[in-house]
């Protein structure tokens, strides 16, 4: 225990020496976490429809006015020469083109959505009422994540990457021959790795606490209360620090560690549905997504949002904690190879 404490103390002292690096490693993650929340607050799920109405047709103008009054529907003036690109990069989910004879041309890459929007425009011509867009919005909201869930996904991704930077000290020690000297002391290699893990966990925890305070001061809109956010933050800090410890135990260069961390974080986020909603993904991916830590964290966040505090809802947390412990044990076993 004493040797673990000494390693942690040494790491703290070491980090204090290089002020420039300290500022980067300590505050960049905080900025990234707050930025992720701010950005996700700006990004509200909406239906972006592009309209091309060259002749200012009556039907086009009236659809524009009525649809833009619906909360969550955004109408943009699409350009004729970039219709396909705008659809491919998802600037618009569909582009509706009106001509002088009230003829409507619809462009959409999603067959199901195309059918629904076609129905909406057909109904509009008959009844002069926009019906059906709200249903698409409700379905979209159901399928995609809300601000808090998406932010939590981004925070996990960011902290996995930044934790690896801190954990890389062990790789540096290996390169500089410190580990060779350490192995000659009566202390076990386990203490060294555990000490590094604890230091990394404490650093990440500090970043989470500061981020939480900033979120509180800025009064950012979250679907969970600040203590619940802090709880999720602590869980993220624990799993991110253990993943980082495992990565640095596996590789021998800092570059490989940072690349693996980025790739791992990205895969977890993609499988967890942080970027694209899981609902529309193939069944095979839905099954594989169960291995994603991001997904479990989001499932837990959702249960906190729904104010359901049953034991069953805490299962994802138990799984994550057990997984973190398993990762640390694996790191301790694999990390021994560095001490030669």
């Amino acid at each position: 225990m004493m040797s673990i404490y000494l390693i942690v103390k040494n790491e703290v002292k070491r980090s204090m020496k290089d002020k420039k690096k300290l500022v980067i490693t300590l505050f960049v993650p905080i900025i990234a976490v707050v930025f992720a929340l701010l950005l996700n607050n700006i990004m509200k799920p909406s239906i972006n429809l592009g309209i091309i109405d060259k002749d200012n047709s009556q039907i086009g103008t009236s659809l524009k006015t009525m649809a833009s009054n619906i909360d969550g529907v955004k109408i943009g003036e699409a350009k004729e020469d970039t219709i396909n690109t705008d659809l491919i990069i998802a600037k618009y989910v569909a582009v509706i083109e009106f001509d002088r004879n009230n003829q409507i041309k619809l462009y959409c890459l999603d067959n199901e959505l195309k059918g629904t929007i076609q129905e909406i425009t057909d109904n509009f011509i008959i009844s002069n009422e926009v019906t059906g867009l709200q249903e698409i919005l409700i379905k979209m909201k159901k399928e995609s994540m809300n601000v808090t869930e998406r932010s939590i996904g981004f925070i996990l991704l960011t902290l996995i990457i930044t934790c690896v930077f801190t954990a890389c000290n062990i790789i540096k020690d290996k390169e500089e021959g410190t580990l060779k000297r350490y192995v000659l002391t009566p202390n076990a290699s386990i203490s060294y790795i555990l000490g590094n893990f604890i230091f990394n966990f404490i650093t990440t925890l500090f970043q989470i606490i500061i981020s939480t305070l900033i979120i509180r001061i800025l009064n950012l809109n979250l679907e969970i209360n600040i203590f619940e956010f802090l709880l999720i933050g602590i869980i993220i800090a624990f799993i991110a620090a253990s993943i980082a410890t495992l990565i640095v135990s596996l590789v021998n260069t800092e570059l490989k560690a940072s690349l693996i961390a980025s790739a791992f974080g990205m895969i977890m986020s993609l499988l967890g549905g942080s970027f694209l909603p899981l609902e529309k993904m193939p069944d095979g991916i839905k099954v594989i997504s169960n291995i994603s830590i991001t997904k479990w964290i989001i499932v837990f966040t959702r249960s906190l949002e729904n104010k359901s505090y049953t034991v069953q809802n805490y299962i994802p947390v138990i799984v994550i904690v057990l997984m973190s412990v398993a990762l640390i044990i694996t790191s301790l076993v694999l990390g021994k190879r560095k001490f030669v």
Binding site: M43, D81, T85, I161, E254, S258, S262, P282, G284
Partner: protein
């Protein structure tokens, strides 16, 4: 005089780069893996009508991302002499600074471009990516991007003091630029603010340029992307030549 030793260094660099594991990895293996995985994940988001499938999308956005990631390889290539402990020989040899810098950038650009051609042909055959007769234009843009990436990598490797720190952090900004450029998922739906922010990433103009050229038959954005990428490449090359000191190899 200015280009003393260039031919020899170029020849030597070419032989090494064409079998460089990192260049092959970023050039063919990693993009193919990403296209298969991401294309499958997003297969329900595209109908495949007019040849626009998820594989089509990811083939066109992954190639620029992986080409850009080659900047990391070039940071190492730039410091090769220092790693092989032959920096002193370079100090006393009658080789100009320009030759050293250019002989790092050009062979790497050529190698990356060769692998990009292989990748694009593989995408055409495996994922039925339709280049609509603009295959050469796509390759040209990727080649200019490869030049820019090599110039940035060489600049960081040769001219920065904190090279050791930067080399570890460099993958993160490139991946962020990848996200902003839509390399992992289309970000067009994220709103106006995000659209403006995304323009800081060269991958945004490049991807948009390729898509408008192939799907909307307009080369305006393509030309802008091409020129901006080329200018950045030249800027970093000139910067590397001006700031490089042979002592960096020691």
């Amino acid at each position: 005089m200015i280009m003393d030793g260039f031919i020899t260094l170029f020849d030597f660099g070419m032989k090494k780069r064409i079998k460089d594991f990192f260049i092959i990895g970023y050039g063919v293996m990693m993009p193919l893996f990403m296209i298969v995985i991401l294309g499958y994940m997003a297969s329900n988001y595209y109908t495949g009508k007019n040849g626009i499938s998820s594989y089509y999308y990811y083939a066109l956005v992954t190639a620029p991302l992986c080409t850009f990631l080659n900047s990391i390889t070039l940071i190492y290539v730039a410091r090769e002499e220092s790693n092989y402990k032959c920096g002193e020989r370079f100090m006393i040899a009658p080789i100009s600074k320009i030759s050293i810098v250019i002989s790092k950038i050009i062979p790497s650009t050529i190698s990356i471009s060769i692998f990009n051609v292989v990748l694009m042909v593989a995408c055409k055959l495996l994922f039925k990516v339709d280049f609509r007769g603009r295959f050469l234009e796509v390759i040209l843009l990727l080649t200019i991007l490869a030049f820019m990436s090599c110039a940035i990598g060489t600049f960081i490797g040769l001219c920065t003091k904190d090279f050791m720190t930067i080399k570890n952090f460099i993958s993160t900004p490139i991946l962020i630029m990848g996200v902003l450029g839509g390399s992992f998922f289309p970000i067009g739906s994220l709103g106006k603010v995000m659209e403006i922010v995304s323009y800081i990433s060269p991958l945004t103009w490049i991807n948009k340029g390729v898509f408008t050229m192939l799907n909307d038959n307009s080369i305006k954005i393509y030309i802008i992307a091409l020129l901006l990428t080329l200018c950045l490449g030249i800027l970093f090359t000139v910067g590397a030549i001006k700031m490089f000191k042979k002592e960096a190899f020691l």
